[in-house]
């Protein structure tokens, strides 16, 4: 196809590009003009990440062929800056309000909002929601985005030129607890942050995986020579036999069962069997059907029933019967306790695959540097990636460098290898940089999901309303490979009974192999599925005893002094009672409003019914009964810069900001002084993975310890009498080439940094002259065969109310309001805590009402639905701070906890409204309607 000249104005500058006329405008902006602020999330007009302003209107640039841009005027996110590197007012508002988390949707959101406000300066909040309705965000729940746009509108209406917010700049020692803007936020709102797909070296090659159309099959690859001769541009063809190291990887040392390229057998649709390496044009000219592959399809194991059937084929030799792993917790005599109970309730629950649907598909680039390999890649777990890539290449881990890009959403999905294996192998073999950017369908076919589950649970209660016993069994479809299946199988039994005290518990789980895509880590590791059961049972038992559902939970809530089902005594920071008490007035008011609505005089039309439900949760912070240390370094350079070398990856949740706040206070300097080096495995120590809600608690402690160590050394050099003195006792300030320490009595001393020798830190380029180091590993113990022990050092607690409206004829559910109370120990940054809660609620709402991934059938964002701004309720956050003594400044975690109670609360509210308990998720309109009909017919 012939390229033509296309001329348009972009961000005020006339531009001509020479491109194929059907090229997507999004590609033209990125590849031809280097305007990487425009993001690509789906190439199907579903996600809105590529939204730009064209001729005064917002359009998705992926749907605009270059030919149609000819003669137009275009504005991209880069055109919103006040000047180079300085945020415009809307961008500043996003930063101040915490409206950008991972930031991948932010450019699209900004362009939608800017277009809206330009056309309608008085846009009310409903118009704002309508205007951004086409841009999907998976992090924020849209709440702070709407707030930021509304604030910009208000500021513009009164003529405020800039500064619609008031950026929080706390003094030394006051960072913890303050709402400072994300330390890595400015590039995200400017559109200059580089994500996985935004790193393109000049001579880069692309790698394209050829994927299985079959769920289960044997295959043979024929003679590849004709393909090579037909396509001389092909630089390399890689098969399983070409994997330099071990062609089996996986999260657990004992569960390395996943090949980088399938070796004669495929176990799920979309599994990679072969990789082509070439320039993009060469790859584009090769159809899958050009490849000499002979398939022998086999009957697939499609789900739990197939996998557990007596005649089921064994998918992995190491796991006869297809059970990957079992989990178990046993305490007391459950059978006896249930028999002795005054009342019992039983429920069967079924949940399905849920897709992470981060707006940034997996992407990255690998370079071979001598005998080392460097991956610049979007990830949640750089050190795990390092070890896995080393294994696959057959080289020492020290010879692998992982440089995390800005991460456009993870939620657990970027804890597994994505593009890593194939770009690494291709770069290793060819010596050229190799990039891979998964398409949306590819991402949805090949990336891990939330485990589908099938749960049966029974709970008992005595005549006084005290819980007696809980029996639980859950089977989890772990898909074709182990991934994080063992984590789910082990975490669920600990949490299965919910945040309540029972005398007797028996909780068992199985993770089961099938021919579905691998199920892995997804915000909560199976606990959200289990919570559907325990919360429904709480409602049921409370109703049987005619006790208010909130009071029933309060009576039975774990609290300081309680002993958990795994035999662990909770000494402190178990704030569920405080959460429930904070919710009580909301509960009573919303229940009364719903009852009044439902009792209201008939009038014309079908009346929607309202209902209010409650969900409570607990969640152990960090890995289950396993060491998961974080190490962080903090140094002062010879030119008096303060640097935090932090291996914890910020995937949008705000870890970088929280860790800077903690380190700043522990050192005794303003947060703005602290520079951050993030994630690079050559420059930072291992701070573990961004998962299990562990970064604030575990890495936060490491950051606190590192900063305290640095402070002690500075005070030693300043010859302060007590170098262990706290941050309020002696002031540390940095001036050109020196540190000045001022003691309370007025004594000052100076440290001339030029006189100090360099000290080693992991970052050899850092030129540090003083360095502190902190390591923290939560105190846990192994669990015995009955799951008894100390699985986690601390737990998050929370509860949410949902106020919903159900149309009983159509089965549609609208969530009107969520009130969320979470015990976070200490809110290091309340804006970010709220952002996590909002985003968790959005994902919980999707889990409850609409999200269902069907392998091979919903691999796009119009058949797989995630909540839009129009689906989100009003949200009120109540932050409970019951300090965790072992936490940094008392903090725990909130990332996963925020999601867990949402779906149970919504399902309880549906039950309250129309009397049906939905036990198969999601509660789509057809299921709700069918349940209503079944009840009416019963």
């Amino acid at each position: 196809m012939t390229a033509v000249d296309i001329a348009f104005e972009v961000n005020g500058r006339q531009t001509t590009v020479h491109v194929e006329p059907m090229r997507r405008l999004s590609d033209v902006l990125r590849d031809e003009l280097g305007l990487f602020g425009t993001k690509v999330g789906c190439e199907a007009g579903d996600c809105g990440a590529c939204t730009v302003r064209l001729g005064g209107r917002q359009v998705e640039s992926c749907l605009v062929p270059a030919a149609q841009a000819n003669g137009t005027t275009i504005q991209t996110v880069e055109g919103l800056a006040a000047r180079d590197g300085v945020a415009g007012d809307l961008q500043a508002a996003f930063l101040d309000h915490g409206a950008a988390q991972c930031g991948i949707c932010t450019p699209g959101m900004l362009m939608a909002a800017e277009t809206l406000l330009a056309a309608d300066p008085n846009a009310d909040d409903a118009a704002i929601r309508d205007g951004i309705g086409g841009v999907l965000c998976r992090c924020t729940g849209y709440v702070k985005i709407v707030e930021a746009i509304a604030a910009t509108r208000d500021a513009r209406l009164v003529g405020a030129a800039t500064g619609v917010g008031s950026p929080v700049v706390p003094v030394a020692g006051a960072a913890v607890g303050s709402r400072i803007a994300k330390v890595d936020g400015l590039p995200r709102v400017l559109g200059t942050a580089r994500y996985g797909a935004d790193h393109r070296p000049d001579d880069v090659l692309a790698v394209r995986a050829i994927r299985s159309p079959h769920a289960r099959a044997r295959f043979e690859i024929g003679d590849l020579a004709p393909l090579r001769s037909r396509h001389p541009g092909l630089v390399d063809i890689i098969t399983a036999a070409d994997v330099p190291g071990q062609n089996r990887y996986g999260i657990y040392a004992t569960g390395k069962d996943q090949p980088a390229l399938a070796d004669g057998v495929v176990r799920h649709p979309g599994e990679a069997i072969l990789a082509l390496v070439a320039d993009e044009a060469t790859l584009a000219a090769i159809a899958d059907s050009d490849l000499p592959i002979t398939w022998e399809p086999l009957p697939p194991v499609r789900g739990l029933d197939d996998a557990l059937a007596a005649e089921a084929p064994t998918l992995h030799d190491a796991s006869p019967g297809n059970v990957l792993i079992r989990g178990r917790l046993a305490r007391g005599d459950v059978d006896a306790a249930l028999v002795a109970s005054h009342a019992t309730a039983t429920i069967d629950v079924e949940t399905t695959f849920v897709e992470h649907a981060y707006i940034e598909p997996e992407a990255g680039v690998a370079r071979r540097v001598g005998d080392r390999i460097e991956l610049t890649v979007s990830t949640q777990a750089p050190y795990m990636d390092r070890d896995e890539v080393a294994l696959i290449l057959g080289i020492p881990p020290a010879d692998v460098r992982i440089i995390p890009t800005a991460c456009g959403g993870g939620f657990g999905g970027k804890l597994d290898l994505g593009v890593h294996a194939l770009i690494a192998i291709a770069a290793w073999r060819t010596g050229r940089p190799v990039q891979a950017v998964w398409t949306r369908p590819e991402s949805m076919a090949a990336s891990p999901k939330r485990h589908p589950s099938r749960i049966r649970a029974t709970a008992g209660v005595d005549a006084d309303g005290r819980l007696t016993a809980y029996r639980f069994h859950g089977d989890f479809d772990t898909g074709a490979y182990a991934s994080w299946g063992p984590t789910v199988a082990n975490r669920v039994p600990v949490h299965a009974m919910g945040p309540y005290g029972f005398d007797a518990v028996l909780a068992t789980t199985r993770a089961v192999y099938t021919n579905n895509p691998p199920a892995g880590a997804f915000r909560g590791f199976g606990v959200p599925q289990a919570s559907i059961a325990h919360e429904a049972l709480m409602d049921d038992l409370a109703a049987q005893l005619q006790i208010d559902a909130l009071e029933f939970r309060l009576t039975n809530a774990l609290r300081a002094g309680s002993t958990t089902a795994s035999g662990q005594r909770l000494d402190a920071s178990a704030g569920l009672p405080a959460c429930l008490e904070a919710l009580r007035p909301h509960w009573q008011r919303l229940r009364a409003e719903a009852a009044a609505h439902n009792a209201g005089a008939g009038g014309s039309g079908v009346r929607v019914r309202r209902g209010v439900g409650i969900g409570a949760m607990w969640y152990g912070i960090g890995n289950t009964s396993m060491s998961n240390p974080s190490t962080i370094e903090m140094g002062v350079t010879d030119d008096a810069r303060v640097v935090l070398f932090c291996g914890a990856v910020d995937i949008g949740q705000g870890a970088s900001t929280v860790l800077v706040q903690i380190a700043a206070d522990a050192l005794g300097v303003p947060a703005g002084v602290v520079e951050l080096v993030s994630g690079d495995t050559d420059r930072t120590a291992d701070a573990g993975k961004s998962s299990a809600s562990r970064q604030t608690f575990v890495s936060g402690n490491a950051a606190r310890l590192a900063a305290a160590d640095l402070r002690r050394q500075i005070l030693l050099l300043a010859e302060v009498a007590d170098p262990t003195t706290g941050a309020d006792a002696a002031a540390i300030t940095f001036e050109e080439g020196r540190i000045v320490v001022t003691e309370p009595g007025g004594r000052t001393s100076e440290i001339d940094l030029a006189e100090l020798p360099l000290v080693p830190v992991r970052d050899v380029s850092a030129a540090c002259v003083i360095a502190g180091r902190g390591t923290f590993d939560p105190r846990t113990t192994p669990l015995d065969a009955d799951g008894q022990g100390v699985p986690y050092q601390t737990y998050a607690f929370g509860a949410q109310l949902a106020d919903v409206e159900v149309d009983p004829e159509l089965g549609t559910v609208k969530v009107r309001r969520i009130v969320a109370a979470h015990d976070v120990g200490r809110a290091i940054n309340p804006t970010q805590v709220e952002g996590q809660i909002h985003g968790g609620i959005a994902q919980g709402l999707g889990f409850a009402l609409m999200e269902a991934y069907v392998p091979g059938r919903t691999e796009n964002l119009h058949d797989y639905l995630i909540p839009t701004v129009g689906d989100m309720p009003e949200i009120e956050c109540l932050l409970i701070e019951d300090p965790e003594p072992s936490g940094p400044y008392g903090a725990k975690g909130v990332g996963e906890p925020a999601l867990i109670p949402t779906a149970p609360a919504i399902l309880g509210a549906i039950h309250d409204a129309v009397g049906v308990r939905i036990t198969q998720l999601p509660a789509t309109p057809d299921r709700v309607r069918a349940a209503i009909l079944a009840r009416a017919g019963a």
Binding site: E43, T439, L810, A930
Partner: protein, 284 residues
């Protein structure tokens, strides 16, 4: 990563007709369907494209001899903002506002929605319910195709390969009312599970005349429910008529199960929507 097709960008209809007559060519207007399809995952990529975005003859919203006429390139945003639509056929405005979100509404066109002929196409039941006619043209001349004859099979239309959709004519008979309803899982950017348009003419004493019940997402094409229409013809929107019409509609429809919904649900919801529209019309 498909190869890029050739594209022509005519300014006049006769040039477009020439291209279409010369061989297989895929027209593109707002691109909201074509640009999704060109990944090559759904169907082979067309070799030649015809960009309609410079042809002004395909634009405009006008009143002509008792009809509202919309150019094929009319976008949903233009419909939403059109005073003429709002005055003469407000149901178009209502429906346009439910399609995609702002970006799609800014680019997607009425002609594209018709040519794409998705069974879930949100505007299409309105065309059926209002007895709209689709004017198509090519080198062989122009012809008007009634909407009821246009959608012949799953994503197949009466449009010949050498023809373009030029405009859509909505007759505006006096006394006619039209209603629209859409049900989806999501509250914005929803793909419909069921979409319905109901039209009738009411002159008082004779009961409803020329009743049309048209639906999307319940069959391979947008359809009219003719048995249900017959039940309502000459009737009044009473509770009894609504009950009967809903019952007939349930029996008349034969939808499928798919990832978006179940057949039972689509049948039932169609009936409940019709019931509601009748109740609202009857004011009971």
């Amino acid at each position: 990563m498909p190869a890029e097709p050739q594209i022509d960008v005519p300014r006049h209809l006769f040039e477009a007709y020439e291209r279409l007559a010369a061989g297989p060519t895929r027209p593109i207007a707002g691109g909201t369907d074509v640009m999704v399809a060109i990944t090559g995952e759904l169907a082979p990529i067309p070799e030649r494209m015809l960009d309609l975005s410079r042809i002004d003859a395909l634009r405009g919203i006008q009143l002509e001899a008792g009809s509202l006429v919309l150019g094929a390139r009319t976008t949903y945003t233009e419909i939403r903002r059109s005073a003429l639509c709002r005055e003469h056929l407000p149901v178009l405005v209502e429906a346009a506002a439910t399609i995609g979100a702002a970006q799609i509404q800014n680019r997607g066109t009425l002609g594209g929605n018709i040519a794409n002929a998705s069974p879930a196409g949100d505007m299409l039941p309105i065309l059926l319910a209002t007895d709209a006619a689709i004017l198509v043209g090519g080198q062989r001349g122009e012809r008007e195709i009634p909407a009821k004859d246009f959608f012949i099979a799953y994503r197949k239309t009466a449009l010949a390969p050498d023809e373009l959709i030029l405009h859509v004519r909505f007759p505006l008979p006096p006394g006619r009312e039209v209603r629209f309803r859409k049900v989806g899982t999501r509250r914005a950017q929803a793909i419909s599970k069921v979409v319905m348009a109901l039209a009738w003419e009411d002159f008082g004493s004779t009961g409803w005349q020329n009743v049309r019940v048209a639906l999307g997402s319940v069959a391979a094409t947008p359809i009219r429910a003719r048995k249900t229409e017959l039940i309502l013809e000459g009737a009044r929107p009473t509770p009894e008529a609504a009950d009967l019409a809903a019952e007939i509609l349930v029996r008349e429809l034969n939808p499928i199960d798919d990832v978006r919904s179940t057949a039972d649900y689509r049948r039932m919801v169609s009936a409940r929507i019709l019931h509601r529209l009748l109740r609202e019309a009857g004011g009971w």
